[in-house]
């Protein structure tokens, strides 16, 4: 099966700063991928590289088996909703749906109108007067009605209130169930993605910190609490992601190949949020990308 996203040593440099460095990823098809990371971690850069709005400085990226290109064929296979959901403020909702039909040969007009109706968009309303939630709904409708194989959403819920957030994600899930497509969506909040994603990519300090199926990731990580102990004395196969110590007690987040057998530890499962936070704080301790470059290689 062709990977939906296949990146190899992908990097993008702005001036002297690497917005994204040494990114290697293979995302299998049919997943809802959460791309998580703090602000400025390179999420938007990665997504813009994927849709061809940017050109890589280093490495390669292939989407659905092809390099992102400026041709109608490849553009038609990817639906994209950019950050802040840009729309033409002077054009109405109906104009936007018409525009989608004009610009996309595989456009599903019936579905576009039905979805717009479902979420309560007034066709005569100008896009400039829509609320944040309605803008996001309209942008999503535009991206989905072109019948893409891959849907890419950049911080789609960042500007929405909690209710609009839930509605948006519900709509997204119903679309995924109906249309059998792969989705990549980014957010700086794990909570947004927890319910919808089955694949997770953690991006921090311009690098991929973690990538994999959510179930496998959760199964492979444990929080260990026990008497104070030097983490270097752990058995092989247990990689410490995060550690904190008091005078008498150590708390470790570890990635482990098998079960933790040491009876001294209290072993707990991690929530997705804790897992992501552990990797993010490790990335911050390790500092900016340039210093860790050789270590990670």
């Amino acid at each position: 099966m062709t990977a939906v996203v296949a990146a190899d040593g992908l990097g993008k440099q702005y001036g002297r700063r690497w917005a994204l460095a040494d990114c290697t990823l293979r995302i299998p098809p049919g997943r809802v991928v959460g791309l998580v990371g703090p602000n400025g971690a390179g999420k938007t850069t990665l997504l813009r590289l994927a849709v061809g709005l940017l050109r890589p400085t280093a490495g390669t990226i292939e989407i659905l088996g092809r390099a992102p290109g400026d041709d109608a064929g490849q553009l038609g296979r990817i639906g994209f909703v950019a950050q802040d959901t840009p729309l033409y403020p002077a054009l109405s909702v109906a104009d936007h749906l018409r525009l989608g039909g004009w610009l996309n040969p595989r456009w599903d007009d019936e579905m576009a109108r039905r979805r717009a109706g479902q979420v309560g968009l007034d066709p005569k309303q100008r896009a400039g007067k829509l609320s944040g939630g309605q803008r996001a709904q309209l942008a999503l409708t535009l991206a989905i009605a072109k019948r893409p194989e891959l849907l890419i959403l950049d911080e789609p819920v960042a500007s929405l209130d909690p209710l609009a957030r839930r509605e948006f994600l519900q709509l997204l899930m119903s679309i995924v169930a109906e249309a059998e497509l792969s989705v990549v969506l980014s957010s700086h909040l794990v909570g947004d993605l927890e319910r919808v994603c089955d694949y997770l990519v953690v991006l921090a300090a311009s690098r991929v910190q973690l990538a994999g199926e959510v179930d496998e990731l959760l199964a492979a990580h444990r929080r260990l609490t026990g008497p104070r102990r030097d983490p270097r004395t752990l058995p092989a196969g247990q990689e410490v992601i995060e550690e904190s110590h008091t005078d008498v007690q150590s708390t470790l987040v570890v990635r482990c190949g098998g079960p933790v057998l040491d009876p001294a530890w209290t072993v707990e499962e991690l929530s997705l949020e804790d897992l992501v936070l552990a990797y993010m704080s490790r990335a911050r301790e390790q500092g900016p990308a340039d210093r860790t470059l050789s270590v990670l290689r």
Partner: protein, 354 residues
């Protein structure tokens, strides 16, 4: 893509072409009256031989509509600022380019359609306005002694100006990615190029003709009168035998150029032509009565001095017959500039935006 571009542009297009239609109606009503007036006032007086009074009367008609010539000068700049500059800048500034570029339409086509549709509308607007103004003013232009003064308000050059201004605006918007900044830059650069071409390129579009005469025989001081009515006098320089320019319009710059000595009826004083040569002191002690005409003896001596030093007057001018070839050449220059800018836009879009 054409339908989307039209949807975004139609309000502005309708406003502009609506205004053009109003102007067309006004001109269609008043134009025939002007022709009639020409027929009854100018044609009879031409038979008599003196037309100055009738021509003045004709030229004072419909002065508001005559102001359309000025509008025609401004329109290309307005097109560049309000249609050209925001065309890409607004999309880049507001982020909607991300929406447009991720539909199933390649960027090249997106740019080509935008440039094609709005660019052609720009050229059509300027072209139609120029056509109307040129047609309407033809009776006035026939009595106007100086067609070259209205060179950029008539004929085909406004099409070139509009095409260039539009392409310039688009390019500025693409490079600056800010609508307001692009508008300002477009206005400044367009005005500069227009002035530069008018002052420094237009006089040399075709090799100008020269009339060389002795200084004393030149038509006179002040603005020289053209060899034929309607010719465009570019310069009337006083030159030494070696071809060095020592003055303009019959005046010789004297004493470092700070004092112009009028070498004509008002001229007086002891003339030693600095940097040219000196004449033996044949000048009478008295040039003439103070404030009056120079004495005959002074004038004779001055003429001899000029003849001895071979000082000559060189008039450079474009004859009326060059008017239309120059229109086409200037159109070609601006059209070429517009094409270069358009090509640059495509190149830049491919290079800078993946």
């Amino acid at each position: 893509m054409i339908r989307l571009t039209w949807r975004q542009f139609r309000a502005q297009a309708m406003a502009a072409f609506g205004a053009l239609a109003v102007i067309a109606v006004l001109l269609a009503i008043t134009g025939p009256q002007l022709v009639h007036l020409y027929d009854i006032s100018i044609i009879p007086c031409q038979a008599r031989g003196d037309c100055s009074a009738a021509a003045t009367a004709l030229a004072s008609r419909d002065s508001v509509l005559q102001g359309l010539g000025v509008v025609l000068v401004i329109v290309p700049g307005v097109i560049g600022v309000f249609w050209g500059a925001p065309l890409l800048a607004r999309e880049l500034e507001s982020g909607t380019y991300q929406l447009a570029w991720t539909q199933s339409v390649p960027r090249k086509r997106w740019l080509a359609v935008k440039l094609g549709l709005v660019g052609l509308a720009s050229i059509a607007l300027a072209g139609l306005l120029s056509l109307m103004v040129t047609w309407w003013s033809s009776p006035l232009d026939r009595v106007n002694a100086d067609p070259f003064t209205l060179f950029d308000e008539r004929g085909v050059v406004p099409l070139g100006y509009a095409a260039f201004a539009f392409a310039l605006g688009v390019t500025a918007g693409l490079l600056l990615r800010r609508t307001l900044a692009a508008m300002a830059v477009t206005l400044v650069v367009f005005a500069f190029v227009r002035v530069a071409v008018t002052l420094w390129v237009r006089p040399r579009l075709l090799t100008p003709r020269h009339i060389i005469s002795g200084l004393g025989q030149s038509p006179g001081l002040g603005t020289p009168s053209p060899p034929q009515p309607g010719d465009w006098v570019i310069s009337d320089a006083t030159e030494t035998a070696a071809g060095r320019v020592i003055g303009q319009n019959g005046a010789i710059s004297y004493g470092g150029g700070r004092y112009g000595i009028l070498f004509g009826p008002q001229g007086n004083g002891r003339v030693a032509l600095q940097g040219v040569g000196t004449c033996p002191n044949q000048f009478p002690a008295q040039a003439g009565a103070p404030g009056g005409r120079p004495s005959a003896a002074f004038q004779r001596a001055a003429q001899e001095c000029i003849a001895r030093l071979s000082v000559k007057q060189v008039m450079t001018y474009q004859p009326t017959s060059h008017y239309w070839p120059m229109q086409w050449y200037e159109l070609a220059i601006f059209a070429a500039l517009a094409l270069v800018l358009t090509g640059f836009c495509f190149l830049w879009l491919r290079r800078r935006f993946a």
